[in-house]
Assembly symmetry: C2
Homo-oligomer: 313 residues x 2
């Protein structure tokens, strides 16, 4: 397979593993890259020295291209970016912020820069900022998400109509059929989160992985929109948030209820009742914990099978 | 094209026009059926005698199959169903209620029954109730919608994995590429609303049709979830609802604010500020008001073009 995304990154399949906090360390990223996709280290949950450690280990574990995802609201972002440049990372995905902030600085260092957006408006801003590619992520995605609530089915064709740079579809994609569907809509490839969270190499807690496998259609919701919209599994913590809403909680009260460290508690420490369990709607289609390599093999097999079915429509 | 949906209804293309209140009278339904799709009269906004008039006019205007959509919460539902049976309607789509209520009664009269759902759970209930086909409608759909908020991209493959009866995808579908995408996900055909609301034959007000054409990505939202979730264009009435939320409005206060007749006011009378403007996220991809026949021709042309692109992936 050879298209704008595989060429841009120098990879075999146009499959990017989302850089998810508490899930995407060097083990997952290198396994994905070794299997022909693009692995991303999720730096949003790492202290600067932890990120450096993961970059070094990833470089030892794979000779293939890999990248780092950096949420632009990360408090010590200068330190992260300095480390990324100093340690020779070649691909950076930025998210949750202004694409102008870092694009040019990183590109001058020879780094390929991709920005994640959830709307046509920010896709256009990203293109104007000179990014090398765009990820357009729909409402069904896990974790933090946009305020427009536009779904992948509607977002991808609209973004594709408005931009010229390579486009990755994200949000709800867990199968090869969905991958083909989003490419028909105009994407050059996909960024996949949830499916890679339920792999042996993901750094998240086993209890969280098991919960992904157990979850069914309707078991997640985008909530806490007054703070920063986030898609969570409907566990006891989620239920407390709903109770707060029913009592007419203010933004401050919601912030107090959320507190700090709930994502770590849920996904990394495996506290399924009090933690935040960030996952996408695609989790309903995940029925096993397998290796990252098997994920990519399954995706590509189903993708090819789906392609051959199309002529019968 | 010959598949389970075209065979079930005796139509040329697996395209059903959603039976939208205030939009789908006999003119739209007959135009869609004459063009090779399945037109549906939207009975939810019609008094019983008005429905009878529309059925008769539709029968005069087309010799092709057409149907009636009946929301099961319609107050005079017995009268609607009696009229449907008495006047020889052969296809009924039911929505917003228990699929067991009418399926067997209608089928005994030789009527094909389809039920609209927004979750795997209700798809299974519908199949158990013996329906002839199921419409699975995602979060991006306009008008009234489910509480699960599952998007079309995630809902269709999951429902397809769980049922055996023919499946129509709905929610956000306005183009032939999206039609092909949802069929790859497991649908046998599509039900399309918004695109048919912006046609010359739709019975809605010209000002509403113009507003659909003007609307862009991010201009709709699913709101009033405490009453019955409904996707609306973000107009002044929508803004009043948001103000009420910010003040912590109770369910009763929201009901009072909504009042009665706002959907008619918005869509049928063209009051763009005080009315409810029910439309799906797909409206962002609609740029013209054309005939129902042109809609179907465009859909099928783009569908075939997209099919031929797939082999290059």
């Amino acid at each position: 397979m050879n298209n704008r995304i595989t060429s841009l990154f120098g990879i075999t399949y146009p499959i990017v593993q989302g850089g998810m906090i508490w899930n995407s360390g060097w083990e997952l990223a290198s396994a994905v890259s070794n299997a022909g996709g693009l692995g991303l280290i999720g730096s949003g949950s790492m202290y600067p020295d932890v990120l450096v450690d993961h970059i070094k280990k990833c470089q030892s574990a794979t000779s293939k291209p890999f990248g780092v995802n950096v949420p632009l609201m990360y408090p010590s972002i200068e330190e992260h970016m300095e480390n990324i440049i100093r340690h020779g990372v070649k691909i950076v995905f930025t998210s949750a912020g202004n694409p102008k902030a870092w694009t040019e600085i990183l590109q001058k260092e020879g780094i390929t820069v991709v920005h994640v957006v959830s709307s046509v408006k920010f896709a256009l801003k990203s293109q104007a900022a000179g990014v090398d590619a765009i990820v357009a992520e729909g409402f069904e995605a896990g974790g933090h998400n946009g305020r427009e609530e536009t779904t992948t089915l509607c977002l991808i064709p609209d973004v594709a109509n408005h931009i010229n740079v390579p486009l990755l579809a994200a949000g709800g994609i867990t199968t090869g059929k969905q991958m083909l569907a989003t490419m028909i809509l105009g994407a050059d490839g996909v960024q996949i989160g949830s499916r890679f969270a339920a792999t042996t190499e993901a750094s998240s807690h086993q209890a969280f992985k098991d919960e992904i496998v157990k979850s069914n259609e309707g078991d997640t919701q985008l909530t806490l929109k007054e703070l920063a919209p986030v898609r969570l599994i409907k566990n006891e913590f989620w239920e407390k948030v709903q109770q707060a809403y029913r009592k007419g909680a203010t933004k401050d009260e919601l912030q107090l209820l959320l507190g700090r460290g709930r994502a770590k508690k849920g996904m990394f420490e495996g506290d399924l009742t009090e933690g935040e369990l960030e996952i996408g709607q695609g989790s309903a289609l995940i029925h096993d914990i397998i290796s990252a390599k098997e994920v990519i093999e399954n995706l590509m097999q189903e993708f090819e099978e789906a392609k051959s079915l199309v002529k019968h429509f």
